[in-house]
């Protein structure tokens, strides 16, 4: 075990995970950042998606030790002034989610995608979210929420 340090949601965090510990388990078990959810544990469901150095990644398919020195953003990092971020608010307003298990993965994947494609259309959003599984909603309300965030961002700018 080696000491590692990474920046998570803007703050330096240190730990000594076993090599076999995934980034997802490190976030949840060692750092108590339980907003990142663990579903299938083999990279299929997308619930554990976080942003590492600006890219969406499946945190169950990355070892914690591999994130040493990286900049990591989790769902806990999206709140602004203690309230919901703009994408979170738009998804709230669209009743995007039901049980909430898949929510952090969808929100982080959509956050990463919109940062590169702020004007994304519905088809692009569907494609970008196609690797995340939701068992409640039938997806339409999730797409609606992301589209609403795009519209609101467009009105602002």
């Amino acid at each position: 075990m080696a000491d590692i340090t990474m920046r998570i949601n803007g703050a330096a965090r240190t730990g000594s995970p076993e090599a076999r510990k995934t980034l997802a388990d490190f976030l949840r078990d060692d750092l108590n950042l339980t907003g990142t959810h663990v579903g299938c544990e083999h990279g299929v469901c997308g619930a554990c998606t976080v942003i590492v150095d600006g890219r969406p990644v499946r945190s169950c398919l990355m070892l914690a030790v591999q994130a040493a020195g990286s900049e990591v953003t989790t769902i806990e990092g999206l709140a602004t002034n203690g309230g919901l971020g703009p994408l979170q608010q738009a998804m709230w307003d669209s009743h995007s989610f039901q049980c909430g298990f898949c929510t952090p993965g969808f929100v982080m994947q959509a956050t990463a995608f919109l940062s590169d494609h702020p004007d994304a259309d519905e088809q692009q959003i569907r494609e970008a979210l196609s690797g995340n599984i939701c068992r409640c909603t039938g997806y339409q309300s999730i797409i609606d929420g992301v589209l609403l965030a795009v519209e609101r961002n467009r009105e602002l700018s």
Binding site: E18, A19, R20, K21, T22, D25, E41, H42, G43, G46, T49, V52, R55, P56, V57, R58, C60, L61, M62, L63, V65, Q66, Q109, A112, F113, E127, A128, S130, G131
Partner: protein, 295 residues
């Protein structure tokens, strides 16, 4: 499931990695992007004693073009290759296949060398490498050797890399201007492994097909060239009838595997449809590339 206990090494140079492979041999697994290996560990389908993590070896990443070849370092992430202007210009077949691999988050970590060393016959990159006759550069204790794609893929998830060798880079021949390409596939859902995929590259000369390269994914133990169709197409002018006949001839000897997504017969029918579509799309893309070149 959680990963089983495993020793972990993170060499910083190729020399160190090759040394570790020499020491541990087939007790070690090389960890590149981890998008296949980590699931195999989680599911206990792979039980290496040591992981040799090559993510810290900077010299294994990068895309460069020289003397008609595009060389891609084994640790080059799939999204990096996807965004590479060199790949888009010089290896358009690879550029066509990359966006079809998994999902965006998978391509953030997944690597060119990792996918090709994993050698899943249903994956996109092995079919591309086989269609283009890519070359694989590996280094082991006895030095460096170059393995052509025809010999690289030996069986299901099996390559001719020996356990003490490290894949350094993969070389793809650059396409000339009068080449049309397509990667066609049928999957239950975008990003899933394809039931059938087809890498197609058609080179044209004065309106006739001077060279045809076709390789299937998902129909056999290794990515399979379709020589019967290639021979039929070569020297002919593109037409719907020609492509129909090539698809018929190219698929008649296929014996695809059956699984819960489709029977062998079904896959065979899908393969013929994919080939007709793929040939048309490749011919169209040649027209587009030619039109762009003459601007």
């Amino acid at each position: 499931m959680k990963l089983p206990p495993v020793e972990y090494e993170a060499p910083a140079t190729v020399a160190d990695a090759v040394g570790l492979l020499a020491e541990h041999g087939d007790e070690a697994s090389v960890l590149a992007g981890g998008q296949s290996l980590i699931p195999l560990l989680a599911l206990r389908l792979a039980r290496p004693e040591v992981l040799i993590d090559i993510n810290g070896i900077d010299e294994l990443s990068g895309v460069s073009a020289e003397d008609g070849w595009v060389t891609i370092g084994a640790m080059t992430r799939e999204y990096v290759a996807e965004e590479s202007g060199t790949v888009a210009e010089a290896v358009p077949l690879l550029a066509a296949a990359l966006p079809l691999i998994g999902h965006e988050a998978i391509r953030s970590r997944g690597t060119i060398g990792g996918s090709l060393a994993h050698a899943d016959p249903a994956a996109e990159l092995p079919a591309v490498a086989r269609a283009l006759d890519a070359e694989f550069v590996v280094r082991g204790p006895s030095g460096t050797r170059v393995i052509p794609a025809a010999q690289w893929f030996e069986g299901f998830l099996t390559t001719s890399r020996s356990p003490d060798e490290l894949l350094l880079e993969v070389r793809f021949p650059a396409a000339n201007g009068d080449t049309g390409v397509s990667f066609e596939e049928v999957a239950r859902r975008h990003g899933d492994f394809a039931m059938v995929g087809l890498a197609t590259s058609l080179m044209f000369s004065d309106g006739t097909i001077s060279e045809a390269r076709l390789a299937f994914a998902g129909v056999s133990e290794v990515p399979a060239r379709v020589t019967a169709a290639e021979d039929l197409l070569t020297g002919e002018r593109p037409s719907a009838e020609l492509f129909d006949e090539a698809a018929r001839r190219g698929c008649e000897d296929l014996d695809p595997p059956a699984d819960l997504h489709g029977s062998s017969d079904y896959r065979k029918k899908v393969a013929a449809a994919v080939m007709r579509r793929g040939l048309r799309a490749a011919a169209d893309s040649a027209n587009h590339r030619a039109a762009r070149g003459s601007d």
